[in-house]
């Protein structure tokens, strides 16, 4: 009987610890994630230190920045990324514009993500009155045109970047909420959530400890894609007079004001577009890696 007395016999040595502190380690263990982090760091640093790194004043309209007929100049030794329609240095504008675009893409988009997730999770879990009211409110917000809200806010308040950020947060959370809501509904039927209920876990504990972690992949998808779309949305809003006003640059409005010129001066659309893409992709890489790192079943994947 001796064999049955001790703990389960095992042919294998105890395995090394895998998680917790491992999340960061696993994240850093992925080359792509590190690459993504590097790009993000690069963008953030160049935005912060734009005055130091930018070759020119972003708003200066150089006399030699335009051809005699008034056309912008393609990339050259002086103007690395070319000049814009007013003869300004595109590179400098991109560097300074990063400041505005980061506020939108990260702060506003992040706020939308947080609000949307909270609303969606709560509505999806507490069905009944709370859920219904929240979801119908979400529907209302969704049915309400964002542009209109923006225009009215702009007319009533003083247009500024933070107003745009506010509008974007107010508008974008809705989509997140919707998707999170439907996923939460489905998650709530899973047995491990029911098990949690029988343990006496409070709803908030269930929501934050057990439902939310399962939503990370959805939230990450929205967060990363949201970067591109919000940065572009900001441009539309600026155009309507709500946000960043000329001559201040943002990646979105550089694209927006030059998009009809994309054949005549492709660099004016390509470079800011590439910047947005790079930022979004970098976040995506990190997001993907983070999601994998948070997901124990992913352990062992390279």
């Amino acid at each position: 009987m001796s064999v049955l007395v001790g703990p389960e016999a095992s042919a294998v040595p105890p395995s090394a610890p895998v998680g917790g502190e491992g999340v960061l380690r696993r994240l850093l263990g992925r080359r792509l994630a590190v690459f993504g982090l590097a790009i993000i760091a690069l963008v953030v640093l160049s935005a912060v230190f734009a005055p130091l790194v930018a070759p020119f004043d972003p708003n200066e309209q150089f006399f030699d920045g335009l051809s005699l007929e008034g056309s912008p100049l393609p990339p050259s030794a002086t103007y690395w990324l070319g000049t814009d329609l007013l003869g300004r240095d595109l590179l400098s504008r991109l560097l300074y514009g990063a400041r505005n675009s980061l506020v939108i893409g990260i702060v506003a988009n992040g706020a939308a993500l947080v609000i949307g997730t909270l609303v969606g999770v709560v509505a999806g879990y507490y069905r009944g009155l709370v859920g219904t009211v929240l979801m119908r409110f979400t529907d209302l917000m969704m049915a309400f045109p964002a542009l209109l809200l923006a225009i009215c806010l702009a007319a009533v308040l003083r247009p500024s970047l933070w107003i745009v950020a506010l509008v974007i947060a107010l508008v974008n959370w809705v989509q997140v909420a919707r998707v999170v809501y439907s996923e939460t509904r489905s998650l709530a039927t899973r047995e491990f959530i029911q098990a949690e209920v029988t343990l006496g876990a409070s709803s908030s504990r269930i929501l934050f400890h057990h439902v939310l972690p399962h939503l990370t992949s959805t939230v990450i998808v929205y967060g990363t894609l949201g970067i591109s779309t919000t940065v572009l949305l900001e441009a539309t809003l600026s155009f309507l007079g709500v946000g960043v006003q000329p001559p201040d640059a943002s990646w979105g409005n550089i694209i927006f004001e030059n998009q009809t010129y994309f054949q005549a001066a492709p660099w004016l659309v390509f470079f800011p577009g590439a910047a947005i893409l790079a930022l979004a992709l970098a976040f995506n890489l990190v997001g993907d890696a983070l999601r994998d790192a948070l997901d124990p079943t992913e352990e062992g994947r390279g």
Partner: protein, 594 residues
């Protein structure tokens, strides 16, 4: 009732097997990379002759499921990988077979029944679809024929109202039914090799007997070879031609069934056999003086609407629980037994507050209805539930240790440090290594997960634990230890158990009282001694008779197969079943008048 003719094969003799259908050589499965690499299955070899039944028994976590997954080429990715050895099917090497080739093998030539039926069935597809598609994938049949075959398969595993079940989704079925659906799916195609991973664990004895009978029948008519993974030595004795006993990833003993049962060579095998609970040797415990009941259930009824028709209006109702009353005495064990689908899990869920019910129940002096939030929380602290399907009830993103610590964290018991110590102690007591605390649910075997669930329920030392088939996935050795643990805790802290099981031997061993359920109602209840010693209701008798005996020499000649209408709890709207009245036949031994 008819009896099948006795099998003509002699017990214990090996059918001559010149050409094995399946041949496994030096199979090694390991996990991790580089220095972290460790083997989960090591150098396992066996042959499977046509028509042979090979039982793989052994300790929980010894690599049984991994081995069968490896044969199917379905090891999870990322995860354990085959790092060596060969697997040949009728001479063809499967290890090197491309995916397309494997696809044709799977389902058709080798079929597998998975261990965890809840997660193994697709929640969004109807049961019927999931069976027919397997048929359609390999047979050139029309949709109608496929449906017909599927229906036959379902009827073969004795699912009541098979026709209607075809249109139901897995979550509408009881655990045992899901298991039978899995079996039907695998059997529908009559494969050459059938790998059944704990196929009858979730089944009550009567169904188990029928399913085993069915397996034998198919084996006899089709010459199917069977790999049966089970820890139930009764089943082994009943079914096996040959046995492999595994432990820690290695085969410790291997041979024909009779000699092994008669004269086990290895200590482990000996211990395993010794640990098997046997009917009739546990007298239950002496009926102690009736104490104040910890749970009182009065007229509990649960109905589920069955949707149908155009707008998804309910067309009928499942009377899963049709008005039952019972009490769980404090510090004692009440066992709920009964065939699959009779409403045991539903009763448990109602008591745990997971499904809406009618009737009244009170636990630990609190009524279950109209509670405030803190009252409900307090109630939940007193009542813990262990779910039938352990994998589904563990949050896959948490480490086992954290999962077990969870209830303590919820109720704010102890510091983090204390909790950790307590978790470690619990792990030890349920027979899990300390390092298991750091692993995630998917990295455990079925039995190990079951133990995590048990540890979690014990963490709070509640007044009542509802244990739904909680030891059925455990190998006998661990099962024995867990049962001992449950009993110790009961003695120590006065925990009462509502124990749901189909394993009559276990039930007889651990119960103070037993209630026998049939179609949502209780047909007989009394002390273990009363019910097992003097079963009055015919249904009870049938249950007891169906229990397999862990002795190949006493193998039954055949299995009873029920004929006629399979009873069902589905009834038209507004037509509740008539309530049975229970009569006292002496000393609180209640029997339904039939």
């Amino acid at each position: 009732m008819t009896m099948m003719p006795a099998m003509d094969r002699e017990v214990g003799t090996l059918a001559p097997a010149p050409e094995p259908v399946l041949s496994v050589r030096d199979l090694t499965i390991s996990v991790g990379q580089g220095a972290q690499r460790r083997a989960l299955v090591e150098a396992l070899s066996f042959d499977l002759a046509p028509g042979e039944t090979l039982c793989i028994a052994g300790e929980s976590g010894s690599g049984k499921s991994l081995t069968s997954l490896a044969v199917m080429g379905l090891l999870p990715k990322p995860g354990p990988v085959v790092s060596g050895g060969s697997i040949r099917l009728a001479g063809e090497e499967l290890m090197t077979l491309p995916e397309r080739g494997m696809r044709r093998v799977r389902g058709d030539r080798i079929a597998m029944i998975f261990q965890e039926p809840m997660t193994s069935l697709n929640p969004v597809l109807t049961v019927g679809r999931q069976i027919t598609e397997a048929i359609e994938a390999h047979r050139d049949v029309s949709a109608r024929e496929a449906r017909q075959l599927a229906l036959e398969a379902l009827e073969a595993v004795r699912i009541p109202e098979a026709e209607r079940r075809m249109g139901q989704h897995p979550h509408e079925l009881s655990g045992g039914m899901r298991q039978r659906v899995m079996i039907a799916m695998a059997l529908a195609l009559e494969p050459d090799v059938l790998i059944a991973d704990e196929p009858t664990t979730a089944l009550d004895v009567t169904i188990q007997a029928q399913v085993l009978g069915l397996l034998k029948e198919i084996q006899a008519t089709r010459g199917t070879s069977l790999i049966l993974i089970t820890h139930d030595m009764g089943v082994v004795a009943e079914m096996a031609d040959r046995v492999i006993v595994m432990r820690g990833g290695r085969a410790v003993e291997d041979g024909a069934v009779a000699p092994i049962f008669a004269a086990p060579r290895e200590d482990y095998t000996k211990a395993l056999l010794a640990a098997v609970p046997r009917m009739g040797d546990g007298r239950g415990r002496a009926a102690s003086a009736p104490t104040r009941p910890v749970a009182e259930i009065r007229d509990l009824a649960v109905r589920f609407p069955l949707k149908g028709g155009f707008f998804g209006r309910p067309v009928a109702e499942v009377h899963a629980v049709a008005g039952i009353s019972f009490e769980v005495p404090a510090g004692a064990t009440l066992s709920l037994v009964g065939e699959s689908g009779c409403g045991k899990s539903t009763t448990a869920k109602a008591i745990a507050g997971l499904v809406p019910y009618e009737g009244r129940l009170s636990v630990a002096g609190r009524s279950g209805e109209g509670l405030s939030v803190p009252e409900r929380k307090a109630l939940r602290r007193d009542v813990q539930m262990i779910f039938q399907d352990p994998f589904a009830s563990l949050d896959p993103r948490y480490r086992a240790g954290d999962l077990v610590a969870e209830p303590m964290a919820i109720h704010g018991i102890g510091s983090a440090r204390e909790r950790e110590e307590r978790v470690a102690a619990l792990f030890e007591r349920v027979g899990l290594q300390a390092d298991a605390m750091r692993r995630y649910p998917h990295q455990f075997s079925g039995g190990q997960r079951q133990r995590i669930c048990i540890a979690r329920a014990l963490a709070l030392r509640p007044k009542l634990i509802i244990a739904d088939e909680s030891v059925s996935a455990l190998d006998v050795s661990v099962q024995k230890r867990v049962l001992e643990l449950l009993r110790e805790l009961q003695d120590e802290f006065g925990i009462a158990y509502l124990f749901i099981s189909h394993d009559m031997a276990v039930v007889e061993n651990i119960s103070d009282r037993v209630a026998v359920m049939y179609l949502g109602q209780i047909v007989e209840t009394g002390t273990a001694a009363q019910v097992f010693g003097d079963p009055r209701h015919p249904y009870t008798r049938r249950l007891i008779d169906a229990v397999p005996v862990p002795d190949p020499a006493r193998r039954r000649a055949g299995f009873s197969r029920l004929t006629g209408e399979i009873p069902s709890a589905v009834r038209p709207l507004g037509d509740p079943p008539t309530r049975l009245t229970l009569q006292d036949v002496g000393d609180g031994h209640l029997v339904a008048s039939s």
